[in-house]
């Protein structure tokens, strides 16, 4: 019983917050802003608690596994959820459906926590569904906008399809190995054609969720249609958790067929980088822009998975953490501007530095970090993935991938230049709310220090 409580403490905490919100909703006893502050506080508290102590006993007969790295990955997801609750307080406070939004997001978070800890394909499938279905409902929360419903529709259809593909792959894995347990399957993997096909189905499902090319088509429309916090959640938390699970599967269960998936991954990496970059070049809408740039970032995450050695999972976890900090800062600024002025197109950001120096610098810093420019942490995170990708010795492949950094520099810098150009356009001086200011500052400190100082990476490395 004690193991049940302590081993799953992160999940218990998320569930407790979820129930609290539900109870308050039923009792109608709290003002919007009080409820939001309470959730912010509870999320921070549970992030901190989730970092303490760890119990590694498998639960439910191996369905639920909790290693130190998985525990840390869940803390990262909780941290991201806390940052989202801080950064998007404008939208959240004014939303007429705050409790529904919180409940949906927290259930999805709960699903992701279970997913990261799953030790059985059945568990993986169930938690994945718990993680994605609430997001489709949340994408629809801007009830007045048609685009929001359109995005939600696209998200639910593509998730349903990819879940079907996943289930199909799972059934083949079960058929060839006779088990759903990760450990047993790993022993039964021999790279037979049927298993290769099964792997491709599984991988396709993950590629869908992470919006890797050629399964990315839903991304831009869904991002553009969804409310800003939901977009941010889909873009960082959802992708991050998928990356955690995928690297775990590739380096664990499917390790013995790495020769087969390495080449598959090469193709997907290059396609994802090139397509993400080329589309990002021409976007005029800030959300669509961030959508395509995040596709390109997924390309780098997959690149880091290609080297099969223990450094891979550390590099991916570190990258996801840095990516959360960088991308959320960009989303945070965009959300603030959008909530106060309704502006979402990039040319209108011209001269933001004049009217809002703080926001402009935060945006610039996050774009530097996304582009991988030192001294920001994004540089280190990306370099580790590239060094890891080069481990197999296919340098032409890594060169082709790394050239994309030069391409991406063009569109990231285009926006930075715009921010500091004159004369300024229509955005008036905006005063961020205290929670938004705090969130942006946490991102900024993280982006500047998490790379120059190696503590965070070293910590991740000791967990693995």
């Amino acid at each position: 019983m004690k193991e049940m409580l302590l081993g799953m403490k992160t999940e218990w905490m998320v569930m407790a917050i979820l129930l609290a919100v539900l109870l308050f909703r039923l009792g109608r006893g709290l003002a919007q802003s009080t409820l939001l502050s309470l959730v912010q506080l509870l999320l921070l508290l549970s992030t901190a608690l989730s970092l303490t102590g760890d119990s590694t006993t498998p639960l439910f007969g191996g369905m639920y596994l909790n290693g130190p790295l998985a525990a840390f990955q869940k803390s990262v997801l909780l941290f991201a959820a806390w940052m989202i609750s801080l950064l998007f307080s404008d939208w959240q406070r004014e939303s007429s459906h705050l409790s529904e939004y919180l409940i949906l997001l927290l259930s999805s978070l709960l699903g992701m926590c279970f997913m990261v800890s799953s030790g059985n394909l059945l568990m993986l499938y169930l938690s994945l569904e718990l993680a994605t279905i609430p997001m489709a409902a949340a994408a629809n929360l801007d009830l007045g906008r048609k685009r929001s419903s359109e995005g939600a529709m696209k998200l639910i259809l593509s998730s349903a399809f990819s879940s079907g593909v996943l289930l199909f792959g799972i059934s083949w894995v079960y058929g060839t190995t006779g088990s759903l347990d990760f450990g047993v399957i790993a022993k039964g993997i021999d790279g037979s054609p049927l298993q290769t096909l099964a792997f491709m189905f599984l991988f396709a499902a993950f590629a869908f969720k992470m919006s890797a090319v050629p399964f990315h088509l839903w991304t831009a429309d869904v991002y553009q249609g969804s409310p800003m916090p939901v977009t941010a959640y889909l873009s960082v938390v959802s992708k991050g958790s998928m990356a955690f699970v995928l690297v775990n599967l590739l380096h664990g269960m499917f390790r013995s067929m790495s020769g087969a998936w390495y080449h598959l991954l090469m193709v997907v990496v290059l396609a994802t980088l090139v397509v993400g970059n080329l589309f990002a070049l021409r976007q005029q809408d800030i959300k669509r822009f961030l959508a395509f740039s995040s596709i390109a970032q997924v390309g780098f995450i997959l690149l880091g998975m290609t080297g099969v050695r223990p450094l891979g999972p550390s590099a991916v976890t570190y990258f996801v953490l840095i990516y959360i900090l960088s991308n959320l800062a960009a989303f945070g600024v965009a959300a603030l501007v959008s909530a106060r002025t309704g502006i979402e197109d990039i040319p209108s950001y011209k001269g933001l530095a004049k009217s809002n120096p703080f926001l402009a610098w935060m945006m610039a810093l996050s774009l530097f970090s996304l582009a991988g420019i030192p001294p920001t942490a994004g540089f280190f995170a990306k370099m580790f993935l590239i060094v890891e990708g080069a481990w197999q010795g296919d340098y032409w492949f890594v060169v082709a991938a790394a050239i994309n950094i030069a391409v991406s520099l063009y569109y990231y810098m285009r926006i930075v230049r715009l921010l500091f150009s004159e004369p300024e356009k229509s955005i008036p001086t905006l005063v961020p709310a205290p929670s938004e200011r705090l969130g942006l500052l946490v991102c900024a400190v993280g982006m500047v220090l998490a790379g120059l100082l190696s503590w965070i990476y070293d910590h991740i490395s000791t967990l693995n």
Partner: protein
């Protein structure tokens, strides 16, 4: 001498520039920091000479700190004579660059912050002994260049800034691949980015040649290796004055130093294999750059194309692979850094007064601004290699080193390169004559003022460096010579 000071001072300067309460105070913070950096570099020079004269050799004042152990990355600092010369050059150019931008009022905090950051990247680059840390600092210096040109530039600034950023980032990718491949080529899986370790490895010749090509081309782009020089004229001419000075005086030297340190020193067999190719490309750059300069009518373009020609000498010295030539390459980097920075500073001063950079619209400016005219003469004469100024020492050393190789090919290349001096004399003297001498071409120019105090100080700092190098070349030779010889010895070339 603790080398961390060389990095700590610019870092503190950067913080001070960003944190001062009023925008107009940023320039004072930047200047104070720049002077402190110059003092620290001089201090480093003195201590380095002391240590060397007491018999220490190799890399001195080493400082090591574990950074990312998983990835074999550490923060390893250390300097030899070549690095000290480069650090000194950087410090001089930073002081001058801050001073000539004294009246920059638009977003001055950001402007001086970017200048300081660029300088910080260069200092770190020159004293890193770990390839990854070196690459890190190289990249630190790229984005400030882009923003300086894109935001404070003139003319086709967006085009130039993008071209520069994309070419330099592409080059960085080549360098990155080179250093990762080098790291993984460790014998027995003893991976390391540490150059002192790598220098001791036995790397097979074919691996060396492949990696050498990647690293050398990558750094070559930074220092205008033909045919990858095309960002130079656009970048230099669109940049603000201090930006051009930093580009020519510091940024192009990152490339030359990188070619020497990361490519030639670590991969001697690769250098021997590609030496003649480098000679051919650099002779093409020298002559092509000189002849293209002849046709330019814009002062900044004249100086930018002449930089292509002059940086060709750096690569020529490296490609010749002899002690004197390699030492000459380093001297040429210092010399070109100083005189081109001075030239760009003068062009900036002239432009600020006449609002034109076209040679044909000026004339007789010496009557209105004698001080500036004298500076232009000094920079020009150094550029055409007049004895007594820095250019002569460097080019002479390269020619001697090239001739020493003894083969017809190398002697012919040396002669061809030497012939460019005639062309240089033509364009330099023509430009100075047309702008400074003769009667005043425009009446309005008679009322122009001469250099202000900050411009005078900036120019004097650079001129002092040029004269010190030209009149007493021994001290720089003593500084650079032994370490250039150490590099050339590894080449085992004839």
């Amino acid at each position: 001498m603790n080398l961390t000071a060389i990095l700590a001072i610019p870092t503190l300067t950067l913080l001070a520039v960003l944190l001062v309460p009023r925008a107009r105070q940023a320039r004072w913070a930047a200047l104070a920091g720049a002077v402190a950096q110059l003092a620290a570099s001089l201090w480093l020079l003195v201590h380095f000479r002391e240590a060397r004269s007491s018999g220490d050799s190799g890399f001195l004042f080493q400082w090591q700190h574990a950074w990312y152990a998983d990835w074999n990355i550490q923060f390893h600092l250390g300097v030899d004579g070549i690095s000290v010369a480069m650090i000194l050059l950087t410090a001089l150019v930073v002081v001058a660059g801050v001073l000539v931008s004294w009246e920059e009022e638009r977003m001055s905090k950001t402007f001086f912050g970017l200048l300081t950051l660029l300088g910080l990247g260069a200092y770190g680059f020159f004293c890193s002994l770990d390839l990854f840390a070196m690459f890190f600092f190289l990249e630190v210096a790229v984005v400030p260049k882009f923003l300086l040109i894109a935001l404070w530039g003139s003319g086709r600034k967006e085009y130039s800034a993008n071209k520069l950023a994309i070419m330099l980032m592409g080059a960085s990718v080549a360098i990155l691949m080179g250093i990762i491949a080098l790291m993984y080529s460790a014998p027995g899986g003893q991976w390391s980015f540490d150059m002192l370790h790598i220098a001791g490895w036995e790397i097979p010749a074919d691996t060396q040649t492949t990696i050498f090509a990647l690293i050398f081309i990558g750094f070559g782009v930074f220092t205008a290796l033909f045919p990858f020089h095309t960002w130079v004229p656009d970048g230099h001419s669109s940049a603000p004055t201090a930006g051009s000075m930093f580009l020519a005086g510091i940024s192009m030297k990152l490339g030359g130093y990188g070619c020497l340190r990361a490519a030639v020193w670590l991969l001697p067999k690769g250098a021997v294999a590609y030496g003649d190719t480098i000679v051919v490309l650099s002779v093409v750059a020298i002559l092509y750059g000189a002849f293209v300069t002849l046709m330019q009518t814009d002062l900044k373009y004249i100086n930018a194309y002449s930089s292509v020609s002059h940086c060709g000498f750096v690569l020529l010295g490296i490609g010749m692979l002899t002690k004197a030539a390699v030492a000459g390459a380093v001297l040429q980097m210092v010399s070109h850094g100083l005189m081109t920075a001075l030239f760009f500073a003068v062009i900036g001063m002239v432009y600020a007064r006449t609002h034109t950079r076209q040679v044909s619209e000026m004339g007789g400016l010496m009557r209105a601004m004698p001080f500036i005219a004298v500076l232009m003469f000094l920079a020009g004469l150094s550029s055409l290699g007049l004895p007594g100024l820095s250019g002569f020492v460097a080019e002479m050393s390269i020619f001697v080193g090239g001739w020493e190789r003894g083969t017809n090919f190398h002697q012919a290349a040396t002669m061809l390169a030497a012939m460019s001096i005639v062309v240089t004399a033509v364009y330099v003297l023509r430009a100075i004559g047309a702008t400074m001498m003769g009667p005043l071409r425009q009446e309005a120019h008679s009322s122009l003022t001469d250099a202000a105090w900050y411009e005078r100080v900036a120019a004097l700092v650079l001129t002092a460096g040029m004269l010190a190098m030209g009149l007493a070349p021994e001290w720089l030779n003593e500084l650079v010579g032994p370490d250039a010889a150490a590099i050339a010895d590894r080449l085992a070339a004839p």
